[in-house]
Amino acid sequence: MPYTRKPDPVDAIVVGLGATGGTAAKVLSEAGMKVVGFDRGPWLRAQDHYSGDELKFINRNYLWPDPKLFPRTLRHDEDSVAEVFPFSPTPQLVGGGTNHWAGWVPRPRESDFIQRSLHGDLDGANLADWPIRYEHLEPYLTKVEWEFGVSGIAGADKYEPFRSKGYPSQPLRPTRFGKRFYDACNKLGINGFPIPHAMVTNRHKGRDPFNTTSFWNQYGDPSTARSNTLTTFIPEAVATGNFELRPESFVREIKVGKDGRATGVVYIDPDGNEVQQDAEVVILSLGAIESARLMLMSKSPQFPDGLGNSSGQVGKNATFHEYLFAVGLFDQEIDDPLYGWTGNYISGGSFEFYETDESRGHIGGSLISASQTCHPINMVFPGRPTWGEGMKDADRNYFSFAMKIGLILHDMPVESNRVDLDPTVKDAWGLPVARITHKPHPNDVAMGKWQVDKNAEILQAAGARKTIPVYLQRMTGNTCHQHGTARMGTDPAKTVLNEWCQSHDVDNLFVVDGACFPTSTGVNPTLAMMANAWRCSEYIAEVYAKGREEHLKVG
């Protein structure tokens, strides 16, 4: 098929320039490879486009995908008809989810890499060990922390695994509600600690320290205190002279040659032209939903079921971190204000309930953390009257007298929970949208219930007059965390990628986002995803591009 343009081939293409794509762009271009990066969103500039405007950022999709252009569909079991639903949306622009995130970057635990070894077969689930261990990732976790200027205090989390270096930036000061959390934890004998944040608290690599306004989570940061790939890794990649960024460019297909290797991509440029870009290596980093979708859309005679899908596993075992919580309402006649609109969105967390404890009746666990209920105008809590005198009273009673303790649900992998191509709904380009099928495993429900109740107990210990639990009913996609749709592993019959996130089928295709995670972990995944993308990109530049092959040994 003739294309409008066919630019010169490059060494590598990176599709999607969020947390992991931005990392890949930096590592590869700094290693001397010629790289082209695509993002279907625009390239915004923090100082020109970002602010603390609730209406713009919370309600009017400034960072988020327009559901008319980029719909998704959801069904809760395979027998139901999927409906258009904004499931797990992530910001679509250069920098991706790091444009909106609160920036909490805790490390995964040793147990996250060996869930099957620890628990065996969990009926109805598809537990798997990772082909790497915590020890393999640790050096790269440290690299990202130091490049990003992560704030934290080594040792404050008493369950923290080995770290080769402390943090480059001091921990964020506790918010008022964070202080309540620490006090309650002390009362209950729980280890509370300042969750590491991708926010610099002292001047770092030319960036000024964090302003304690709190208009960060869900907002674009007009300063550069919050680390994101838009203001760190992407400019560093561009500065090498080896990286060309093509925003507003929608990659619709990965092309394959007669030998079954990827030759490049076809994309639609901002003027609506179809363009073919060839490369030696194609790297996907669109997030687990969209990477799977692009692989499934890239059909060819060699790969009639989608690229790199000889195992039939692309899109399967999709996991998400539904965010659950308990809200605490405090008594303004007794308590001091919690100042929920100041400081960071979350303040204080605990890994006390992370590892399996048989007495709880479920396996696994999650990171918990104290947070704001929301920002002033969008303040919400379940059951709050929404207008009239009742609303006025609720707002004036609870404005600054509410907080919540949330959890990152450690969603168990289930093969039938998956991403595939919707048979009827198309996006603005006429291409099939991602259809998500997800039914929680009983362990998810049990884990969520137990932890929400525990969080309510902590809120009561903090002095909450009333607590409101929010349990798991169904997966709503109340999270940007997506994993598992192109698992990495050693067996090509059961997994999509090897330990370097390299397709078992197509040796020059890599998927470096959360799609590669065999299990979801119970912790915010972005730090681990970025570290893993760094690790794999280093492999591409230092080993694969030089014609060699290496394999890890895990004990």
Binding site: D66, L122, D123, A156, R176, T212, D271, Q332, Y339, W429
Partner: protein, 193 residues
Amino acid sequence: MVDLKVSFAGSKPPLGGWLPAVSLTDRQAAILNAAADELIPGGDGFPAPSEVDVLSFVTRYVTPSGQEPKWFPFLGEDDFKARLDKLGEGFVRASSTQRVAVLGGLERDEPEFFGHLRDVVYYAYYSRPEVVHAMNRVLRAARDYRTSPLPYGYSDVMADWDDELLGRVRGSYQRTADVRRVDVPAHLGKAGV
């Protein structure tokens, strides 16, 4: 036929709403003010919405006639005006109790429209400087709330670290190989999806 001209251009709402704003008749403005005053009652040191010009905000965010109201607050000019007209002059003249009853009926019968109206009035009201000043003046918990973040943010109302708290904790490490196997609870082992 695939429209390859589709791109991000035009896919974002205009910042600050549309200018010029949608214009309302005097009667429509009075109806909107009356509704806003019931949605967020004034008093106790707070102004009524009608006293702080919620109208100019709302009319900037109502999508002008001829365009699809695809962005928050999802209100299109023609439909919005027709609904105000339907509430009618009687709504303006009615007592507060009667207006609340009418709005309650609207919430029950047309929840989508009611929600959009309520939300945009909420934004309009709490964006007014007079309201922020009232919050500062009247609410103990909001005395420090500001209309925009300042260079040093809210440092003055943040807490300090408890050095003792952090001094007590120490990190630990166990090799992956030393992580203990834990049995799956029996009831989960038998459970299906």
